[in-house]
Subunit: 401 residues, 2 copies
């Protein structure tokens, strides 16, 4: 009865999706525009960072051996022989029995191997009383301790975080080699669809998925081009597919919701390329299509917005990482306690929308077509294919969306 | 000795920061560009969604009472009186003993109150054998069940998610009322700083914080204008402050790292406006300044990149939410098991950089100035002011960054 009886497991579909395409070519972007871009090359330090032994406190640069045994009662008495000024180098040296004032961030004079914080010192004329013994290396960072010249700082495939852009500044990357953003064509099919500015009548609904696809693509680092609502007859859809595969690096089709429409969509991908997967043991999201149009990867989504978003999250993320070149990062495992039982059918992976609050995951059961539960949910929980569900009080893994 | 002895608790500083300014005025943006923007008004449904009783399966629209007691052995036998076509309305009706084929997403004919999935039916000529009893409402969504006309869909202050943009499409919002993005001026001070394309010599370091500030501002929905490296003399910094407060909606100053520089920065804010906080019981991040230049909020960060990022995360987020109008969302509580003891001083909130993997938080201890640990960390853990730290094996809350 159904063409989707030969479903494949989610993990297999994810593997096929992520291997569909190689990464985009690289381009240089100014550092100030590199945040969230995907690094195209390993980045090494061009110099020692810091380039000098650096104080991390306001205090006195000392030879730590001069402060052995020092305390409140018997402070070490050192002669202040100068002050280091921020920004310049220093010609000063600290000999036995001497010290030099250094502000936070300034270079230590030669001979000094520790910084005594001002809070632990008294200044009497040109004498500094140090009331605490200092360890070698205390309150300072050694030259090259953060990154030594030539050391690996960031690896290719990393999606640049806030602090990554800081590290790139530190190693002098005024322009950053990143992957070009893929352009992904979005086609919405379904004779029931009307544009967002129309008022639906009869059996019509507004085109929700074009916009969800665009937002999703933005979230995974892709540009998008909306081809609008394409009538689901063979000619219109075939033409749209051929245009998109010529103009874009990837294609997302939000399929017609009926079986006939989905079958036509698969046929047309086959005519213009190859269908690799048609049917995944995934709920919601069984009638998903993974294919290729020439060298352009294509993902066919179910028409229901909620199913479409689950498929984008579970299958689309690995698929488009193939294009963007982003390596999967160690993700934070987020856990929550289940507030209600979640039954599930064995043999398929179930993704349940939940609202997580104060460590508790509240399942939002609801019919698969509802936007309502989609908007109220802030995460998904996954029920593996081998499980018959979870019970109230179980600790479950939570996937943000 | 220190000017920061009068520190205030983190929660108090956060409250002051978040109350510093009202939200930006609103503007309309096209729906396709609204993702991650902050909604400026409540959004209500303009029509019933769906606008008709809608099938969520491919199957036969039936009167559920006709299927009472139906099973494999004794199926209900119904006469097929028509097929609903996608996209149009339907003039068909289902009378007692009748059924009508409906594809997924199509409207139910009058009289029908359930959909029997094709998988549970056999078609014999114009007779349909239904082998399962159907409940009233099964496999269908009623008119207005997702959102009734006039119902609240999204509330003001929400940062639009992927699915939110879908919901806006469903209710016909071709243009979306959002808050204008605030423009925040970024000033980097410190005589030790050189631009990113210079090779540092002597006691110089490259300007890291300008870029981290820019990336951070991007992440919280602000535009930024970099004023570059400003010499930390009174005249240069004063001029930069006055320019930024005229041109921008907020100001971030990455302070000189020495105490003298920080004091000068606070003095200049006081001369041109008001210092509300100077010193927070926060580590790292004690020498933070919160102030106002006219009506423009200003945040003074410590010079160390790691401290600066902690302050942006802990204090900057609530401060800039005041401008962007974003309401704090129910955040996912992320938990992890601590891999090592984390000692902490009572009386201040400690934020420790960690790397979370497989549910385990590995503290990255290191000197506060290092970018190295910053880049390797994927999260922060918080040790409350009243605590002396956590022990290995403790479950801790984790803040992504």
């Amino acid at each position: 009865m159904s063409l989707f009886l030969q479903t494949i497991p989610v993990s297999e579909a994810q593997q096929i999706a992520s291997g569909l395409s190689g990464p985009m070519p690289e381009e240089l972007v100014p550092l100030g525009e590199s945040y969230t871009r995907v690094l195209a090359r390993d980045i090494h330090a061009d110099v020692d960072i810091p380039g000098f032994d650096r104080s991390v406190m306001d205090g006195y640069a000392v030879r730590s051996s001069d402060t052995t045994g020092a305390g409140e009662a018997i402070p070490a008495m050192l002669r202040l022989v100068g002050r280091v000024v921020m920004g310049g180098g220093t010609d000063l040296s600290v000999h036995r029995g001497e010290c030099v004032y250094v502000p936070t961030g300034a270079p230590l004079p030669e001979g000094a191997d520790a910084v005594a914080m001002v809070e632990y010192c008294d200044l009497l004329g040109d004498q500094v009383l140090v009331k605490k013994p200092m360890a070698n290396g205390e309150n300072m960072v050694r030259r090259g301790e953060d990154f030594a010249s030539g050391e690996l700082v960031l690896t290719e495939g990393r999606r640049l975080s806030i602090q990554d852009t800081g590290a790139l500044a530190a190693v002098g990357k005024k322009d950053v080699p990143v992957r070009k953003k893929p352009l992904v064509g979005v086609i919405s099919t379904g004779s029931e669809l009307v544009p967002v500015d129309a008022v639906p009548t009869g059996g019509q609904v507004r085109d929700v998925n074009s916009y969800m696809c665009r937002s999703f693509l933005d979230s995974v680092g892709c540009e998008s081009r909306l081809y609008g609502i394409v009538r689901d007859d063979r000619e219109s859809l075939g033409n749209a597919l051929r245009t998109a595969m010529t103009e874009c690096d990837g294609v997302l089709i939000s399929g017609g919701s009926s079986k006939d429409d989905r079958d036509m969509c698969a046929d047309l991908i086959r005519e213009n390329g190859e269908v690799l997967v048609h049917g995944i043991a995934l709920a919601p999201g069984k009638p998903t299509i993974i294919g290729r149009l020439g060298r352009v990867p294509v993902l066919g989504l179910p028409g229901h917005p909620a199913s479409a978003l689950v498929v984008m999250t579970v299958i689309g993320r690995p698929l488009f990482r193939g294009l963007t070149g982003e390596r999967e990062s160690e993700r934070l495992v987020e856990r929550a306690i289940l507030a209600r039982n979640v039954p599930s059918m064995k043999g398929r992976e179930d993704y349940i929308r939940v609202f997580v609050k104060d460590g508790c995951a509240h399942p939002l059961f609801g019919k698969s077509g509802l936007l309502n539960t989609l908007v109220r949910s802030n995460a998904l929980i996954r029920v593996p294919a081998g499980s018959e569900g979870f019970e109230q009080g179980d600790e479950v893994e939570v996937f943000r969306w």
